[in-house]
């Protein structure tokens, strides 16, 4: 069967390896059943709303605020993660210090720790009567139950994305490039700023985009620390849950559709950056 498809329109290049039909068949059916049919259901439901209804639901003030909070806090957290993620990756790649292996392993904690656990732990730390919150409260700084709390949760969630994207590219940097810069009279700061960082830019951007995309959709770690005040600290995924619990499916669908469109645009941007960096630097992030 595969041979015939190949001869008909060169769907695939000939190969002696067997099992193409079976493997692709399993892959496609699973993909269609689990991912594509459910997602297209969402697309179909939102298109069935009709444009005026969709627009009215999507521009509802509470929805707009929730989307703004989700994207705004995710953006802020991704920025913080870029700064500290690059520093952390640099320290892990370049320096030797006791406990380095443990720190390296700990970076993946946000991938492994269930988000609900992260959420209640961070709330315990940063609530006004919490470990750190109680130290900040006398200074008038409030973190938990404000948008800053959301940013803190998203910093936790997004950190490994930046570190793990930048780290391998840093490891590949050829020491000779730095030596060349040094012999040409650049001081260390200039070498880092003008020689090393530009080469890392695509990886940093990819890490930023991944952390941002994850932060926008994050739910579990945020809802405990956010305070969830409508218009102020209510994230878009929570508003979807609230609308679903009210059986207000059109509103939930509209919010989800807006989020998905923006997320897919992000995915496209990530892929473009990666393709561009592969062409320019010979490696992908």
């Amino acid at each position: 069967m595969t041979a015939r498809t190949a001869s008909l329109w060169q769907f695939r290049q000939p190969s002696v390896i067997p099992g193409f039909g079976l493997a692709l068949g399993v892959t496609l059916s699973w993909l269609i059943l689990i991912i594509l049919i459910p997602l297209s259901g969402l697309a179909w439901r939102s298109s069935a709303l009709g444009w005026p209804t969709f627009w009215a639901l999507a521009t509802d003030q509470r929805t707009v605020n929730a989307l703004r909070i989700s994207f705004g806090t995710a953006f802020a957290a991704a920025l913080v993660n870029v700064v500290f993620g690059v520093i952390l990756a640099w320290v892990l790649v370049r320096y030797r210090f006791p406990g380095k292996r443990v720190i390296d392993a700990m970076v993946d904690l946000p991938f492994a720790l269930p988000t609900a656990v992260a959420g209640i732990a961070l709330t315990t730390l940063y609530a006004p009567n919490g470990w750190i919150g109680s130290l900040l409260a006398p200074l008038g700084i409030k973190i938990a139950f404000t948008p800053i709390g959301i940013v803190f949760a998203l910093i936790f969630v997004g950190l490994p994305f930046v570190v793990r994207t930048v780290q391998p590219i840093m490891e590949e940097i050829d020491k000779e490039v730095e030596e060349a810069a040094a012999t040409l009279g650049a001081n260390r700061f200039q070498t880092i700023r003008r020689v090393l960082l530009p080469g890392l830019a695509p990886a940093v951007l990819t890490g930023f985009a991944l952390a941002f995309a994850r932060g926008v959709g994050e739910y579990g770690s945020v809802i405990f620390i956010a305070g969830n005040l409508p218009y102020i600290s209510e994230i878009a995924p929570l508003l979807i849950v609230i609308r679903l619990e009210e059986f207000n499916y059109p509103a939930a669908t509209a919010i989800a559709a807006v989020m998905l469109v923006i997320s897919f645009a992000m995915l496209l941007i990530i892929n473009t950056i990666q393709a561009w960096s592969r062409r320019r630097y010979g490696y992908g992030a």
Binding site: I35, P38, L42, A116, T165, P237, L260
Partner: protein
């Protein structure tokens, strides 16, 4: 790592005369300090908080919570869900990697992007799509209802949402690994007369086993810890459709903090075991784990 030793502190000289390709010692200590503070504040402290809060009233109460039947049923459900979702995505992951890594065909890049799709969908939306699909307002909802098939607010819905969320993990790990390994081993086996399945069992599988284990490990951690997607489809029926993360949420919202953190401890231990195994795999079999550093 080797050049580290040479450039920093390998010989006494480097401390006196700074190598041109390393930073000033103070800058180095400053950066290490900054990184450690950040890791401490955002990663170590939250983890420490989970264990401390769970033990707040002593180990007695901790173990009372863990032996509660509700906790027990949450653990059971979590194990059942992961026990179904992980093997399903394991089979899918191997099939997808076989098709994508061993063959050249049209639309391959697009297929790879589609497999990654669940990563860019909010967990809440991942759960919601199944509500739209199987809910009473949907096309098949009434049919399911009249035939007494319960998908939402029951175990099937939780499994579906978990499968959706953990869909890419194994495939993502295997595709780059198998692409790196190429097809020459398989071609040799086939030319020596092995059948397709024999080639897979005796040639491919041994080549990818550590990468596979790595993917399964990450897939399992996510399957057991998934919150958003499962929360939307579970209906939060105590003792019936509560997974461990949902049980944590319910207990916490009831201000039963010690109990919430006690259940959370189990999940945190799972995370720690995952991290340890992951590090061991990376250390011992780094050449067989392709994407270990490329999430």
């Amino acid at each position: 790592m080797a050049h580290d030793a040479a450039s920093h502190g390998g010989t006494g000289n480097t401390e006196l005369v700074r190598v041109a390709t390393s930073e000033h010692r103070l800058a180095r200590y400053g950066l290490i300090g900054l990184a450690l503070c950040f890791v401490g504040l955002f990663l170590v402290l939250p983890l420490a908080a989970v264990f401390t809060e769970a033990m707040r009233n002593g180990p007695g109460e901790f173990f009372t919570v863990l032996s509660d039947p509700e906790t027990f049923s949450a653990i059971r459900l979590t194990l059942i869900v992961a026990g179904i979702a992980v093997p399903l995505n394991l089979v899918f992951g191997i099939a997808a990697a076989w098709a994508i890594a061993k063959f050249e065909f049209k639309g391959k890049a697009f297929l790879t992007t589609l497999i990654d799709l669940p990563f860019s969908v909010s967990p809440v939306i991942s759960g919601m799509v199944f509500i739209l699909l199987f809910g009473s307002h949907s096309l098949i909802g009434p049919w399911l209802q009249s035939h007494g098939i319960q998908i939402l607010f029951a175990v099937p819905g939780i499994v579906l949402a978990t499968v959706f969320v953990t869909f890419p993990f194994v495939a993502r790990e295997l595709i780059p690994l198998m692409q790196e390994q190429g097809t020459s081993d398989e071609e040799a086996a086939l030319s020596l007369g092995a059948s397709g399945w024999q080639t897979f069992w005796y040639v491919t599988l041994p080549n990818i086993k550590w990468g596979l284990l790595y993917g399964v490990l990450l897939c399992n951690a996510r399957a057991m810890g998934e919150f958003g997607a499962v929360s939307v489809v579970s209906g939060h029926i105590r003792g019936l459709t509560n997974t461990m993360p949902l049980q944590v949420e319910i207990l916490y919202n009831e201000y039963n903090f010690v109990a919430a953190f006690a259940v959370a401890t189990l999940l945190a231990l799972l995370a720690l075991v995952t991290l340890v195994l992951k590090s061991l795999l990376e250390m011992k079999y780094s050449e067989q784990i392709a994407a270990s550093r490329r999430h």
